[in-house]
């Protein structure tokens, strides 16, 4: 077992609980041990950096120093908002001595910058596709998946340091390994608009509609995501989008970990498929997976 510090973030306790379930299932199957960071707090997401730069660095550092104190040097953050805040904190502390001094003034514990932050995709790819192939019990034949990476998994490259910025392939390669087909499409890294989800829902509906429309046009019958916020927008608001734009999508939005879990032979309930608002029953049923 490889121990990793695990920062679930606020979403995975509530709206992204299915992501939590499926991630736990998949990591267990692959021999990765997730240890939740002790007494973790919110990373500040997009609100902290809109109010104070120092605060937006301090909140991730608070969590990172908890992990460092407990002896971890690797941390998994499955939510993209958390992930990019954590990575930004590490990079900025490394390059900005002034900021480092200020941060050390704020904290009693002096964070050394030893904890490296990963998205589950990075960890799985590092282990190798062969390891994933070895666990597969049921190939996902017949599924045509559009892999949607979201905004900050690869951007900006200076901070994310992962995959191709404009045309990432990591999730595609994993989903193809599971036996499904992936589509070529140009909205992989477009923004779903989540930071305005409560205040400017009209913008979110427009941006999420663009993503759904492009996926459908590319011929996908399911979308795979890697972030609970993208999922909440594309899945939770799909009904609203269909009403606003007078169309019908009915595309299930699954976490890539749910697809992995299904291929590893999990029952749908074990990876939280019952929690999706747009039911995957029809699509998965038609290819004999549910």
């Amino acid at each position: 077992m490889m121990p990793y510090a695990y920062f679930p973030g606020c979403s995975l306790g509530s709206s992204g609980y299915d992501y939590h379930l499926s991630l736990k299932y998949v990591t267990k199957a692959l021999g990765i041990d997730l240890m939740e960071v002790k007494d973790w707090v919110c990373c500040g997401a997009s609100s902290a950096h809109a109010t104070s730069h120092l605060l937006s660095i301090a909140l991730p550092v608070l969590n990172l120093s908890h992990a460092e104190k407990d002896g971890f040097d690797k941390l998994i953050a499955p939510c993209l908002a958390c992930l990019s805040r954590f990575k930004a904190a590490n990079v900025e502390l490394e390059h900005d001595d002034d900021l480092k001094k200020k941060i050390h003034e704020v904290f009693d514990y002096k964070y050394q910058g030893k904890v490296k932050v990963y998205h589950p995709l990075e960890v799985f790819l590092e282990m190798g596709l062969d390891k994933i192939r070895g666990r597969i019990q049921k190939k996902l034949k017949g599924l045509k998946v559009a892999c949607y990476y979201g905004c900050v998994l690869t951007r900006p490259p200076k901070i994310a340091q992962f995959d191709n910025v404009e045309d990432p392939q990591s999730m595609d390669s994993i989903v193809r390994t599971l036996g499904a087909e992936t589509t070529d499409w140009s909205y992989k890294t477009e923004c779903c608009g989540v930071s305005m989800t409560l205040t400017r829902s009209d913008m979110v509906l427009k941006l999420s509609n663009d993503v759904l429309r492009e996926a459908k046009e590319a011929g996908a019958n399911a979308i795979a995501v890697a972030c609970p916020l993208c999922q909440a927008n594309l899945d939770g608001r799909q009904r609203q989008i269909e009403e606003t734009y007078k169309t019908r999508y009915g595309i299930p939005i699954l976490y890539f970990t749910q697809l992995m879990g299904l291929a590893f032979g999990a029952y749908p309930k074990e990876v939280g498929l019952q929690k999706l608002l747009t039911s995957p029953r029809e699509v998965l049923g038609s290819v004999g997976l549910m």
């Binding site: 606020c10 979403s11 306790g13 509530s14 709206s15 609980y17 299915d18 002790k38 007494d39 973790w40 707090v41 919110c42 500040g44 997401a45 997009s46 609100s47 902290a48 950096h49 809109a50 109010t51 104070s52 730069h53 120092l54 605060l55 301090a58 909140l59 608070l62 908890h66 990019s84 900005d96 200020k102 003034e105 704020v106 904290f107 905004c151 900050v152 951007r155 900006p156 490259p157 910025v165 477009e190 923004c191 608009g193 989540v194 930071s195 305005m196 409560l198 205040t199 400017r200 829902s201 913008m203 427009k206 941006l207 939770g236 608001r237 009904r239 609203q240 019952q274 929690k275 608002l277």
Partner: protein, 186 residues
């Protein structure tokens, strides 16, 4: 628009550089930021226009357009800028500066959302999604907005009806207090 240019106009870019370390004068208006921006269609002042206005010191025009609040922080502009300007850092700097300024803001709900978000985080140590949505809906005078999305999520257990408190909340409030003190002393 004609602008009478004086030394005073340089103040904004200097303030921004002092606060964020970013030099807006490097921008040569290639418009890559605007062309890639997913929310540019909703902006009255597009990202490249904002950079130009910052060079010219037109703070009032920038704040009046409300552009800094429409930005989604998706990092597309930062990725594509050939001059490597951190445009979001500039926008965040203007957001930070707006706390001490008194300009008109066409979208007051968005900074209010950020404040409510941080207040709830300070209280519980985590985001309380349902409470945050309710408070913002009240602030916007549309209490039942998105109820068609929230009710199935509640039924499926995807939204928690009550907040969950983190044991780290106390330490978090201590850190927030120290930062406020540090920034206030500046």
């Amino acid at each position: 628009m004609s602008i009478l240019f004086s030394k005073k106009n340089l103040q904004l870019s200097r303030d921004l550089q002092a606060l964020t370390g970013e030099n807006v004068m490097l921008c040569y208006q290639c418009k890559k930021c605007t062309l890639g921006c997913p929310s540019a269609y909703a902006m009255r002042m597009k990202p490249h226009e904002l950079m130009r206005a910052a060079q010219l010191g037109l703070a009032e025009e920038i704040y009046w357009s409300g552009t800094i609040w429409i930005c989604l922080s998706c990092e597309t502009c930062n990725t594509r800028c050939p001059q490597d300007i951190n445009i979001i850092r500039v926008i965040d700097g203007m957001r930070e500066m707006s706390k001490k300024l008194d300009y008109y803001n066409p979208y007051p709900v968005i900074p209010a959302m950020h404040r409510i978000f941080m207040t709830l985080v300070g209280r519980f140590g985590k985001v309380y999604e349902l409470g945050l949505a309710l408070l913002i809906n009240l602030r916007m005078l549309t209490p039942f907005k998105d109820i068609d999305m929230a009710s199935p999520m509640l039924l499926k257990g995807k939204l928690k009806p009550f907040p969950h408190k983190s044991h780290g909340a106390r330490e978090l409030r201590q850190v927030m207090g120290r930062i406020r003190k540090l920034e206030g002393a500046k």
